[in-house]
């Protein structure tokens, strides 16, 4: 196509039960997505625990943009763009560190870690210049939810809470797995690159139809109970929270098992310290309920996937080039649990992971496949006739139904049509 559709035309490419293949492969559409999604809506950037101390920084991203997340001396989290206001040189060349300021190596312009220009070499050449007009660029709005830091380049628009909507509850549900109520992101990230459009990743995160086939090789040899969660007889559900946020809710299956920590393939007895801490924090009954239910499996649009024991951050670089950043979730105050979370995450995900290497193979084959000229459409109609509403009014369906994809595309269309 290579011509971006006008607002009135997105509906021709995005139908209730199918989407056009060019949405994954057209470079012009990718550029439009950067403007209408990545540089406008709330995007997950990093976690407050990655910059625990004053002057800590870590380099993150919003799509192809390099973003420096800093904690300034006042303790405030800033999202700065890695571009000197003088001639455009990158001011930060390390992935993380502790620095009160960033000095550009080109002409020695120096910026405080809140973005202010504090000095330049040979200042007599800039007589009368107002330094406050030469700060680093920044992500316009920054808000945190329970430690998860999001940024939006739009000066106005929905608040983060309005954007998260019903899906905020999945983050609430996650942090309860810490006896102190806090997630920590401290184990470092694996970065897994795929030659595929980012939306193949986005849609797969809450696709419950594929595990039985894509992951049969590991379920079979690892004696895993995961496969049954995604079988025809499963009572787990897919959910559409609106605003593009989706979930696979496995709690109905885990509640049938009625065994704490079964969701994690273990028992209370094998995690005695964690179990004791959880009971002390929440009381016996609530701790038991939390540990039966298991952590959420939720995709926060457009790029934060809370994947039960790990989290992924999706980064699009080009129409056919994406990076999955993944790390083990760590629960503050739960060292024995955290060790197992790291071990299981390392086995499952990243470039050599038992699960993700095969998912990523599917993303790349889908990307090449969708370049074929016909049948033109991606069909997303599975379970359309058996959608129902849950008690809160969110759409739910069988765990293998394509409710998440349909929800993602409905929201995508609304963002692309907004001018």
């Amino acid at each position: 196509m290579n011509v971006v559709p006008r607002a009135s035309q997105w509906g021709e490419l995005i139908r209730p039960d199918r989407v056009h293949g060019s949405l994954y492969s057209d470079p012009a559409i990718f550029e439009a997505e950067l403007q209408n999604i990545w540089y406008r809506t709330w995007v997950y950037v990093g976690h407050e625990s990655e910059v625990p101390n004053a002057n800590d920084y870590v380099v993150k991203s919003i799509g192809p943009q390099s973003v420096i997340m800093t904690r300034d001396e006042q303790g405030k989290v800033n999202l700065l763009l890695n571009r000197c206001s003088h001639r455009g040189n990158q001011v930060c060349s390390y992935d993380k560190g502790n620095a009160r300021s960033f000095t550009c190596p080109f002409h020695s312009w120096t910026f405080a870690n809140d973005g202010r220009l504090v000095g330049y070499a040979f200042p007599d050449g800039y007589e009368g210049q107002d330094k406050s007009k030469l700060a680093l660029g920044r992500v316009t709005r920054v808000q945190s939810y329970r430690g998860f830091v999001f940024g939006s380049f739009a000066a106005e628009g929905p608040t983060l809470e309005e954007h998260l909507g019903g899906a905020a509850e999945t983050i609430d549900r996650l942090v309860r797995f810490s006896p102190e109520g806090e997630v920590e992101v401290t184990a470092g990230f694996l970065k897994h690159r795929v030659k595929a459009n980012w939306k193949f990743i986005l849609e797969n995160e809450c696709d419950g139809y594929h595990p039985a086939f894509v992951h049969s090789s590991i379920f079979g040899v690892a004696d895993s109970a995961i496969g049954k969660l995604y079988g025809g007889a499963s009572t787990a559900v897919t959910r559409d929270y609106g605003n593009g946020h989706t979930e696979i809710d496995l709690r109905p299956e885990f509640r049938k098992r009625d065994a704490p920590m079964s969701w994690f393939g273990t028992t209370e007895e094998r995690l005695p310290d964690y179990t004791a801490q959880m009971k002390a924090a929440y009381g016996d009954q609530q701790a038991r309920e939390i540990m039966i239910d298991g952590t959420p499996h939720a995709m926060i649009f457009p790029n934060l996937f809370i994947a039960e024991i790990q989290m992924f951050v999706i980064q699009p670089l080009a129409v056919d080039d994406s990076v999955q950043h993944v790390t083990a979730l760590q629960f503050k105050g739960a060292p024995d649990m955290n060790r197992r979370l790291r071990q299981q995450t390392m086995g499952s995900v990243g470039p050599a992971g038992f699960l993700l290497a095969d998912d990523s193979e599917m993303y790349e084959r889908c990307h090449r496949g969708v370049l074929a000229r016909s049948p033109e459409w991606i069909f997303l109609g599975r379970g359309e006739k058996r959608e129902r509403k849950d008690e809160l009014g969110f759409k739910v369906g069988h765990v293998t139904d394509e409710i998440p994809s349909r929800g993602i595309w409905r929201h995508y269309r609304s963002l692309m049509e907004a001018v």
């Binding site: 992935d95 401290t186 184990a187 470092g188 990230f189 694996l190 970065k191 897994h192 690159r193 795929v194 030659k195 894509v214 049969s216 090789s217 590991i218 079979g220 040899v221 690892a222 990076v323 993944v326 790390t327 083990a328 060790r339 790291r342 071990q343 995450t345 390392m346 086995g347 990243g350 470039p351 050599a352 038992f354 290497a357 095969d358 990523s360 193979e361 599917m362 790349e364 084959r365 090449r368």
Partner: protein, 164 residues
Amino acid sequence: MLSRESSATLLSAVTAFVYKEARLQDEHQYQAWEALWTDDGVYWVPANGDDIDPEKEMSIIYDNRSRISLRVKQLLTGKRHTQTPQSRLRRLVSNIELLDQQASGDIWVASNSMVFESSLRDDTIWAARNEYRLRHVDGELRMAYKKVILVNNEKALFTLSFLI
């Protein structure tokens, strides 16, 4: 401390072992490769640097002996999609050095390698520093430890599903 003569003999045996491992990996002879490991083998491919603490930070691979076995079993199912079809591979191994021989008999060895992978996605070149701890078991050399330090392990990497 080894005599010059026994050191040369050992280097020759170690070199033969390293070449054999490379060939078994290139040719996807998974079970023969697994048989090179001792019962306490550790297979480690760090991410984000050479000397991270694998007990605290994420590695690309950090397999104990049972997870090495699981990795091989998964490949043998024939349903490991990312290796179906298998990558075509050839690797060059060089700079083989004996670094140390401990009183226990464990031998520390290092090498450099470059791997050419041809897969459905594209052709990919991988380069690494390899560190081994080898041990004689029933008269044969075996691997107790292999650490593969990819030169670009700080960057986003494509899928690495063959044996590196």
